[in-house]
Point group: C2
Chain length 377, copies 2
Amino acid sequence: MNIGLLGCGNVGHGVLEILDADKKHDVKVTKILVRHERNNGDGRFTLVPSDVTGNPDIDLVTEFIGGVESAAEFVKASMQHGKHAVTANKKMLAECMPEMFRTAHENGVELFFEASVGGGIPWISNIRNIREIDEISSFRGIINGTTNYILSSMEKGMDFAPVLAEAQTLGYAEPDPTDDIDGFDTRYKTVISCEEAFDTYIRPEEIPVFGIRHISKSDMDYASENGMTVKLLSRVVKNGDSIAASVMPCMIAKDNELAAVKANSNAIELTSSNLGKLLFIGQGAGTYPTSHAVVQDILAIQNGKKHDYSRLTRGTVENAGASGVYYIRTAAPEVFSEIESERAGNGAVITVKTDLEKVMGLIDRANDPELFIAEVV
Amino acid sequence: MNIGLLGCGNVGHGVLEILDADKKHDVKVTKILVRHERNNGDGRFTLVPSDVTGNPDIDLVTEFIGGVESAAEFVKASMQHGKHAVTANKKMLAECMPEMFRTAHENGVELFFEASVGGGIPWISNIRNIREIDEISSFRGIINGTTNYILSSMEKGMDFAPVLAEAQTLGYAEPDPTDDIDGFDTRYKTVISCEEAFDTYIRPEEIPVFGIRHISKSDMDYASENGMTVKLLSRVVKNGDSIAASVMPCMIAKDNELAAVKANSNAIELTSSNLGKLLFIGQGAGTYPTSHAVVQDILAIQNGKKHDYSRLTRGTVENAGASGVYYIRTAAPEVFSEIESERAGNGAVITVKTDLEKVMGLIDRANDPELFIAEVV
C-alpha cells in the first residue's frame, strides 16, 4: 500500500519514521507534500498538492496540514481520486464532517481519524468494536492536554497566568491559546466522539462551552479545601433520541479516577449496556502517541476495516432537563440571587441543584466577561 | 458461523443472549454442552461433549467449563477437529498455554481469550494492535476484582474478615477464596499478559506471589495515615531478554490513578515506546462484561484476525536487581534486623530500599504463616 503524506510537521515526521522503519507490513510512503523545498536528497518531497492528492500510485493519504480549508480541500480531492484518508485534524472534521463523510461514502473509500481524539488513546477503534454488539449511553472525559496541564499545575498552588506562560514555553500551549483554554478544542473532539458513539453530527457551536481562561487560584483553593479538584470535562449523555452535551470545568472529588489524571494526560470514559464504565487514560498528544494512532488507522484500513459513513444523521443538543450544582465567581453575583445559593470565601456563588439552561440565561444577563463557572459533580 | 458452547453458566448464558439477539453478524449458537438435562424446549442442549467438540457443523467453540483438565481436553479436542476456540479460562490457559498454542498452530485454528484478563477491558486486543508497530516494555495492574473490593472496603475502615464474608455473600468472592486472596488468580492473568506483551511463557509458580489474606486494619491504617492506600498489583518489567515479575500488595499514593480504582473494578496499564503509559479501567468480571469480551473474540476471529502461536518461547522470571521499600508486619520482626528499617506504630517493619530477593529469603527464614508484606511504591 502506497501512502502519501499531506504535510510533514512533527506528527508527519513521526509517521514517516514509523513507516520507514516498518518491515512487517506492506506500507510505504511514496510522496510527501511540504510547503517549502527540502534539499535532503529524499526524492519523495514535493511542493505540488496534486502530486499526492491526484497521484494514481497512492492508495491512502494522511493529512497533517492543520486548519480547515486547505486540509478539507486536499482530503476531499484525495478521496475523490479514490484514495483512503487518515487525519488527526479535529477542527476540520468537526466543521466539515457531513461533507467529508458524504465524499467517503460516494467514493467508496475510508476516512479514519483515531488520532483526532485522545491522541495515543485507542478511543475510536474501541468504540467501533464495542458498538458492533453493544450500545453506548454516555461518555465524558478530559480530552485537552493543555488545559489539564494548566489545571494540574494550579492544583499544586500556581496561578493561571504563570502556568499558561510555562505551558507555552514547554510547547504544551499555542502562542494563541484560545482553542485550548476556551474549550473549543475539547468541543471539536466532543463533536467527533458524538459521531462515533451515536452516529449523530452536532455542530460545534451548538454545544455550550465554558473554558478555564478566567479560573483563579481562589477557585482551585475552594475546590481543594472541599476535597475536590477542577478538570475541564466534555460530557455527553444520550436520552432516547436526544443528546445532552456540554464542555465545562467541573469540580470533582479528589478520589475520583479523573482527579488523578495529571499533567497533559487525557482520560475518556464511556458507559455501555454490557460493559458499564470503561475508562482510558493516556497521552492525548505528542509526536509518537499521535503518529502511532495514525499508523494504526493505516493498518486498520489495509486490513479491511470499514466505517459506515451513511449512518451519520444531523442532531441537536437538548440540555433541557440537565441540571447541577454550579460554582460561579463573577463581579455580578446579584444576578444569581433568584437561585438559592451559598457563598464561598472568595465571594463565589454555589447554587443548589439548578437547571443548566436557567444558569446559562443568568450568565448572559450577568454579562461579565471574566465570569468563571464550574459544575460541582 | 456456527458456534458451540462448552458449558452454560452465567457467562455462557450471557454469550447466548448476546448472540441470539444479534441480527448484524452471521453467527449462531447451534449446540450447547451442559452437565444436566434441560427441558426448556431448546433443542440445542446436549450432555455429550463430542456433540460440540467433534461436530462437523460447528466452526468455533467457546469454553465456560472452568477448572483445568476437562476444559483443556474439550478445547484441545475441538481445535484438533479444526474448530476455533474462545475461552475465558485463565487458570487453564496459564497452566496449559504451550500445549494449547501448539495445538492451535498445528491445526491452523485460532484460540482467543480476551475475557481471561480484565473481563470487559479490551486489554488483549489492544496489546495486539499496539504490538503491530510498537514495543511494550512493562505492564502493571489491579486484575482481581475480589481483592480490590476487599481492599476498597477496608479503606473505608472495615477489617478483612467481615469484608471477605460480605464479598462472599454478594458473590464477589468464592466460598473458597484462596485463588483470589492469595493472589493466584492475579498470577494466572499475569502469565497470560506476559505472553501477550512479550511472547514469553512463564510458569505461574515462578512468579513470586504475596496475597492479602493476612492484611489487617492496622496495615490499611498505616497506609492511610501516610497518604496511601493498599492495592494488590501484578507488575512485570522486561529488561532486555529477562522478565521481572511479581504479584504483591502495594502501598500507593492516594492521588495515583490506581488508588482511585474502587470496588471490584480492574485497571491495567502498559508502557510502550510510542504511547508512553496507557491505562484501562473497567469491569474485570461480571456476566455481561465477560460475555461481551467473548463475543468480541468470536467476531474478531470471524473477521480474520490471527495470532501467531509459534512465537511463544519459554521464559523465566529474573527478579535479581528488583528492589523496593517494603512494609512487613510479622510476629518475627527480629529476622529483618539485618535490613535498615523503621517501625510503624503497629510494630511493622518498613525497610530502606532493599533487594526483593533478600527480603524473600528473610521471609522464608521468618517462617511466619501470618506475615503481611506490601511494597511502598
